[in-house]
Point group: C2
Chain length 704, copies 2
Amino acid sequence: MNSDDGLSCHSSTINLADVTDKRRRIVIENFSPAIDAGRFTPKFLSNEPVNIEADIYIDSHDKLSCNLLWKQKKSKQWNVSPMQLINNDRWRCQVTFDNLGLFDLQVEAWLDNFANHLHKLLKKVEAKMDIKLELEEGVELIKKTLNLSHETTHDEVLAHLENYLCSYKNKPLDKASLTINSAFENYAIEADLLEYYDLKDTSALLLLLSNDIQTLHQTNCQKEFLTHSSIFPLRVERTQAEFSNWYEVFPRSQSGDSNRHGTFGDLMARLPHIKEMGFDTLYLTPIHPIGEKFRKGKNNSLICNVDDPGSPYAIGSHEGGHDAINSRIGSWQDFRCMRDAAKSINIEIALDFAIQCSPDHPWLTEHPEWFNWRLDGSLRYAENPPKKYQDIVNVDFYAPQAIPALWIALKDVVLFWANEGIRTFRVDNPHTKPFPFWEWLIAEVQDTFPDTIFLSEAFTSPKIMARLAKIGFTQSYTYFTWRNTKYELTSYLQELNEDGLADYFKPHFFVNTPDINPFYLQQHGRNGFLVRAALAASTSGLWGISSGFEICEAEAIEGKEEFKNSEKYEIRAWDWTSEGNIVSEISTLNRLRKTYKPLQTQQGIDFHFCDNDQVIFYSKKGKTHSEEKLDSLILVAVNLSANHLQEANLEVPLYMLGLHDNAQFEVHDLMSDSHFSLDGKWQKLCLDPSQYVFVIWHIKAREH
Amino acid sequence: MNSDDGLSCHSSTINLADVTDKRRRIVIENFSPAIDAGRFTPKFLSNEPVNIEADIYIDSHDKLSCNLLWKQKKSKQWNVSPMQLINNDRWRCQVTFDNLGLFDLQVEAWLDNFANHLHKLLKKVEAKMDIKLELEEGVELIKKTLNLSHETTHDEVLAHLENYLCSYKNKPLDKASLTINSAFENYAIEADLLEYYDLKDTSALLLLLSNDIQTLHQTNCQKEFLTHSSIFPLRVERTQAEFSNWYEVFPRSQSGDSNRHGTFGDLMARLPHIKEMGFDTLYLTPIHPIGEKFRKGKNNSLICNVDDPGSPYAIGSHEGGHDAINSRIGSWQDFRCMRDAAKSINIEIALDFAIQCSPDHPWLTEHPEWFNWRLDGSLRYAENPPKKYQDIVNVDFYAPQAIPALWIALKDVVLFWANEGIRTFRVDNPHTKPFPFWEWLIAEVQDTFPDTIFLSEAFTSPKIMARLAKIGFTQSYTYFTWRNTKYELTSYLQELNEDGLADYFKPHFFVNTPDINPFYLQQHGRNGFLVRAALAASTSGLWGISSGFEICEAEAIEGKEEFKNSEKYEIRAWDWTSEGNIVSEISTLNRLRKTYKPLQTQQGIDFHFCDNDQVIFYSKKGKTHSEEKLDSLILVAVNLSANHLQEANLEVPLYMLGLHDNAQFEVHDLMSDSHFSLDGKWQKLCLDPSQYVFVIWHIKAREH
């Protein structure tokens, strides 16, 4: 799909009838927002104004008129919104979409013969040239507009127009009361028209120029050279698609007793605490039955004790597969009860969609043709030599007998849980499954449930991660977890805002995951946790922690970014009130995110001068359109060294608020909730870890 | 046309058979060079290496192989060139196209099962894991490659391979002599294989890894998941499309006597002089018969004397129209004689293609239906109120009876002159004629005469100028003529090198034209002419002067950028050797352009630090690919004030030559042909107008 006219003169057979088609004369190009010329779908939030733009022009110096046509994909009825010329042949229209789901957008443009004629006529009036013929031609155009017969005389048309205006105004026509259309305001046609033109011409002229006749024309005119762009898609999503605070748990570790398998009931008991911290998405690692064949023991051991619960990612047992619940966590009734309890306090449950199977998954016997069998009759288990994942086997998407049954079965798994009220799915390793599969599955699911959110857990090359977002994933895991230095953080956040990526790639900043125990957290203690929480919560609309982060858990397998005694392989118990926890700081950060819109997106970040390499200093202005005037700004400074006092000279970007370099400004320190005022853009800041390792300010001009 | 797979899951009906098609699994995108995803045709010179690139990737960690397929558009036979992975999923292949005209390019990519299998196998060898089954599977893949029957045993396949290798090498096989394919060089499989594997396995392994078997596989394998990009166009042009020095004349002013109408004979007499100055395109303003009705007198007067020759842009009289020659300039024989004389000294004749007609043009009586008649039966002449061009009327491209006859007639005019040996057309005001018309006309003409060059004379909004280049114009007039300050020149030259514009928009820098007598030239005298000549000749592959520039002619109509006594309306005579002429400097500039490739393009320009706002300082490296190492560089410094001495501190970009900041370097001052050496990147330069207003240096590292 292309914004262009589809004319292809480099083809060897050129059809002259196509070339001369009047619908090809006007150019509509560079439609925005668009991804790869309309091939993919940009995503915006409901209730946020979207600027729809295109370059629109024609040969000659004639003037165009342009409309944006838009509708919900499933609707037949187009809405029409006029577009305005901004500058340099760029036209724009701002639309706020209310409903969720897919929309169609299209631009139409045409040559407005009547307006063009009047513009040229007025130039002649300014030069006091004869206009008799031009008036005649103007009347002729009106004749066409009104579909009057060719025989109608000039005077009859004018009389017709006068009648029209009279009936329109419901009172006798008074020429002096005619309002000249604003499109012609710039012309110097003064009251002395009668000096140069006779009464009849003057009267006809004023009639043609009147606002009412313009309106009549606009609604009735034949749109000359009417040209349409191709149709561009746009998806409207709910707020949680871009702004949410995630909390990840292993349900089985929520009992508070490492000897007792946690249940949905235990999870329910934890909901108020999670809510109080400000998290609104609760993500559960897989809750399905776990295989027994080749089950892993503690710390990923090949030796498994009878009590070991196994990795929840080894999905499927005699209890069932992806549409079953591990009975040790609870029953269907328990699940629904927990789900409803969460919903009642506005916590959304996110489930894991991990396509791999344990060797005990029912599909292996029911659908052996969906798997990759080896020459010796064995099943190819997951491996990345010399690493082996003996407890997991993968389906083969392109096995001859797997198409399309396997694809449909997987889609049905997602639809099954969507029907159970689940609308957020964290997808495990989507980059090792075919792109067309995801594009199809997500489109199908969202067709039925437009509010469904898919989070892509792909840590792979940048283009593959971007592709997954293009083809439909709502949110994406990122490299944030490994970006620690000022240079790394700056360039990564800039990269996420370049090349239109923000229109479809919504980054999720996890500070840790069950699989990633970052060296930075292992090495920097409590202050390190505060640094990473502040960075994630202030730079991205989506951030998340894996349970344990709030009590600064980072016990690692020596030399690895892996947790020791990982919850992936055993039941853990935690003391959520343990000393040194950062529950209060996390709660404050999440509260600020709810209050300040600039903190609800990765967009609108700018990095500012700061002469200390251990201090990162940036502003957040949020999603703003270039013309908008800012009256306040969020400033963040973080001491990346975590445990050493750092001083820095900062250049506060007062210019962004339209202030001069020496202006006074008001500061609201958001973490401490204190207020003070400062003078001028150059400020010295001391980040003393014994007091705080970061500051978040809300600044605005001083009121007089 | 789109580089993508055409899958459109945002459509409401999704065909699962399409989605699961194995030809959709691999992604090929961001093909380059491409304009608007293949809708338009990028242009390159014959014999210049072109980097063809695309992002190519697949889900999973499997390895791909990729080819570029390319052919002349009219050919049926594709050439195949393997592409190499550069970095970050970007693949490349460099091609040099010899023939002129249109080419088709396409990328194919596939999953190389055999190579992938061997890579995984070798990882196991490194870990000293069992490989019996993997060898078996490798042999199985070879069986498929060779189309051997399913019953063929493992040993038979290996024997078959050995035989193949023996016959291939024409000598008995010696395993020790097998060359391991370089793709597998990185694996640490040492000679101690036999320690861990038996003789049979080792022997099979070495066989599978051998270079020869890889070659066998490459040429015979079934390309798994074979995927093709769409087909992208590319045009190959002759050197003059991008590099030429233009000289513009009114043939009638070449007699040396303002009372005698110049002829082709007079023009012939001037050819050696024009050649000596280094110009290789001689552009003639229209040579067609000139209308008499409403003919303009001297200085665009409405009153025309009987001797006044009229504007050559008022085309057509009783003598004929666009395919006739003004008999006052000469006969057909004279024309051909002049054309051949020019050709013999490698000067190319460029003609003007100006579509407007005088009221005496034969088409007005032969084809009244091609014109725009007014209600009073008069013809609409060209006007831009209050300006009137009574001597010119325009055709109406979309008049009902003009389609397609007028379009074809206009194309035939160009073909007529092409058949007369003319291959360069300067097109007057193309932006006031429909884009589809030009796209079609240029494609049709170049289909027959691939060496045809079209220069667009459009001074209008940037997007319209770019569009004309996109749809086929070879070269474009530019705003250079009005870019005078350091800021204006810098930003304009940068703009011309941004957004892929250079792939299709080839800027022509005219220092003046018969219609443009720039204020800068009017105000700065001889030095001003040198400044503008140096700027144009050193920054653009295409530059041109209108005759008179070399003798610093700038007599203007007071307050306007128009020539007094313009050649457009009268016969002028010039003294080409008049005092103060800059013939010698122009000749030198053109000679340098011929010698130094970086001067043959606007590409590869970089602006460098210079602390004087009246001095512009830049380097030219020409068209280089990012990896290329530079061993020399052109440096240019111009005193924009023209008549005042200017000193400046310059930062010579030694880093571009891989030199350190204090390195010594050799300077060849090209205008004075003198040599000297300098130390370090910081240099002070004095541009004293009494000596020179600009310098052009060719610098390189000092030889030891």
